[in-house]
């Protein structure tokens, strides 16, 4: 097949690989979202100790999603997973108004991280199925997202439980990669 064939194989092993880092406070719904990406059963999900990784195929992309536990004692370990991230997904429990400040602080710290510099940010305003949730616009204001100017960002209202909005968010994430040529496997 020759060396040229190897290059063609390299090219046509087709699926671009995307490393997605899924972060957010505990109980924001990260693992539920991850399972929702993979169309898996979401009826029994317990707080994540450590992390989950899943590879999901989606419209020509292989998404390697790293879901890191959100509990306070685990958060210091987030930084171990920053390297080579293509898209950062930050999940917020839109119904938990008491912790909006805490989630805003954690997000700001992430945005300061050198290793995540310029990495596109997708925020899922999750749990939109609950009655007392804040809408995406309110969260945008609260987190002062308009001031995020060093990267592309998008806020997506969703419900990991019903699946609503989940796909739209992922499509945005993949679009970021097609425009900047994702890495190939």
């Amino acid at each position: 097949m020759g060396l040229l064939a190897l290059l063609r194989k390299l090219k046509s092993s087709g699926d671009r690989e995307l490393r997605i880092l899924l972060l957010g406070l505990d109980n924001a719904g990260k693992t539920t979202l991850l399972k929702s990406f993979a169309s898996e059963d979401i009826s029994h999900i317990t707080p994540t100790q450590g992390f989950n990784i899943k590879s999901v195929q989606s419209s020509g992309f292989k998404l390697n999603v790293w879901d890191i536990g959100g509990q306070r004692k685990i958060r210091p370990y987030w930084k171990n997973y920053f390297e080579n991230t293509d898209v950062l997904i930050y999940v917020i429990d839109s119904s938990d108004k008491k912790r909006l400040e805490e989630t805003g602080e954690e997000l700001n710290e992430l945005l300061e991280e050198q290793k995540l510099h310029g990495v596109p940010l997708l925020i899922y305003a999750n749990k939109q199925d609950l009655p007392n949730r804040s809408v995406a616009a309110e969260i945008t204001d609260y987190l002062n997202l308009v001031n995020v100017k060093d990267r592309k960002w998008q806020i997506q209202a969703c419900s990991a439980l019903t699946g609503e909005g989940v796909k739209d968010g992922l499509e945005w994430a993949m679009k970021q990669m097609s425009s900047s040529k994702g890495k190939k496997k």
Binding site: M1, G2, L3, R8, L10, K181
Partner: protein, 415 residues
């Protein structure tokens, strides 16, 4: 202007004039590309004396002698029979490309094992292992004719510049966002060009280690590139079916060669860089005129993808190698078919002339390399022994040593 001395160049035939102008030593070459053993020497000398002010009446006798020596060299019969000299088993994974330095005293091998190795041709001893890449070392080159530096391009997206003498890494060029699959030093050896699967080619300054220019324009992977002989232009061949001609100084695109109907496999200049030959997966080879970027001929006949093309040193002949298992030799000027090379039992992925232009070497997936007579198409010799397909092959300058690199993790020296 004062002529200081003559230098003889055998391949392609020529005489280099070293002269003094304003206190500086300069050189210029008189190319004798169509010199044959039977050419009338007096006519050649007269023409040179008429055209070249540096050749005064007192110098013509010397020029006559030099031409005589070139003709003697050209008249040497090429009946060299190669035998297997050494099997080098130093890589632990398949080889990618191989390359000689100018004199052929050493050569380099790239490998999937993430290293590039530097070898002494005469002894088969390993001189250095160039370690540091984090993925396949795919593209490799000496800065010929100097040969004091080596460049390696890797699937790790970086290119590294090394000292031939010490094996130390001078620079790591970072900036590509995908695998580097082709590279070249510019002729004065001040710059390196790299081509990448990220669709761009980049120019790097050897001294500073900085990126000089990024050549953006292709819409798919760049898999072949080369400089013209002055280093003022660069051509890039791409999977987007086109070849682009770039001005090295400005980084601007001069021409886009559009016409192939499938991916480009190889793009090469002829000796005086007036022509560009391109091979394509569309089963054809096209010949283009460099100045205007126009296609002046399409060579059809292969039944499958054209995987490699190569001019001889003088630029008078053109070779094509195909996935159909055959290769062909054409007259580069008239585009007429001279010979067909038939016998391989698998696709031919590499083809090259010896510097003398008297033999053609092909590397195939049938685990053999073969030597052919370009005039008759007759197979002169089969190099057997590799236990897997051969990815790369090369002649030294003298044309009396061949190296082959294979998927079987070995490199073989034949002489």
């Amino acid at each position: 202007m004062k002529l200081k001395r003559f230098l003889l160049r055998y391949y392609p035939p020529g005489i280099i004039l070293e002269y003094e102008q304003g206190g500086n030593i300069k050189t210029k070459s008189i190319d004798l590309l169509d010199l044959k053993p039977e050419t009338d020497v007096d006519a050649v000398v007269d023409e040179i004396a008429r055209k070249e002010a540096l050749i005064t009446a007192s110098k013509t006798e010397q020029v006559r002698k030099l031409i005589g020596r070139l003709q003697e060299k050209l008249a040497l019969k090429d009946d060299h029979h190669f035998y297997l000299f050494k099997v080098l088993r130093a890589h632990i994974l398949p080889l990618t490309n191989v390359a000689f330095n100018k004199s052929g005293s050493s050569f380099i091998t790239g490998s999937y094992d993430r290293t590039c190795k530097v070898w002494d041709t005469a002894s088969g001893e390993e001189l250095h292992t160039l370690e540091g890449h984090r993925n396949v070392v795919y593209a490799i080159a000496y800065n010929n004719p100097y040969g004091d530096k080596i460049a390696t391009g890797s699937f790790d997206k970086t290119c590294k510049l090394w000292s031939f003498e010490s094996g130390k890494c001078y620079h790591t060029f970072r900036g590509h966002t995908a695998e580097i699959v082709c590279l070249s030093f510019n002729p004065p050896s001040t710059m390196i060009a790299t081509g990448s699967m990220d669709t761009t080619a980049k120019l790097w300054d050897i001294q500073t280690g900085q990126e000089v220019a990024s050549l953006n324009g292709h819409s798919a992977e760049i898999i072949s590139l080369s400089f013209n002989s002055s280093g003022s232009q660069l051509i890039t061949g791409s999977f987007d079916h086109t070849v682009m001609v770039w001005c090295v100084n400005s980084g601007k695109r001069l021409h886009t060669l559009i016409g192939h109907k499938a991916e480009i496999s190889s793009a090469q200049f002829n000796y005086d860089c007036s022509l560009i030959a391109t091979g394509s997966m569309d089963k054809t080879c096209k010949i283009w005129e460099t100045n205007h970027g126009t296609c002046i001929g399409t060579l059809r006949g292969h039944e499958d993808e054209v995987l490699d093309v190569a001019f001889d040193m003088t630029g008078q002949y053109l070779l094509t190698a195909s996935a159909d298992g055959t290769a062909r030799c054409y007259n580069a000027v008239t585009h007429s078919l001279i010979s067909k090379f038939e016998g391989h039992e698998g696709e031919i992925s590499k083809i090259t002339f010896n510097p003398q232009g008297t033999s053609v070497l092909t590397a195939s997936s049938d685990k053999s390399a073969r030597l052919w007579d370009p005039e008759t198409g007759e197979c002169k010799q089969i190099f057997e022994g590799h236990t897997d397909e051969i990815f790369s092959c090369a002649f030294n300058y003298e044309g009396n040593t061949v190296i082959t690199g294979s998927k079987d993790n070995t490199c073989r020296i034949w002489r």
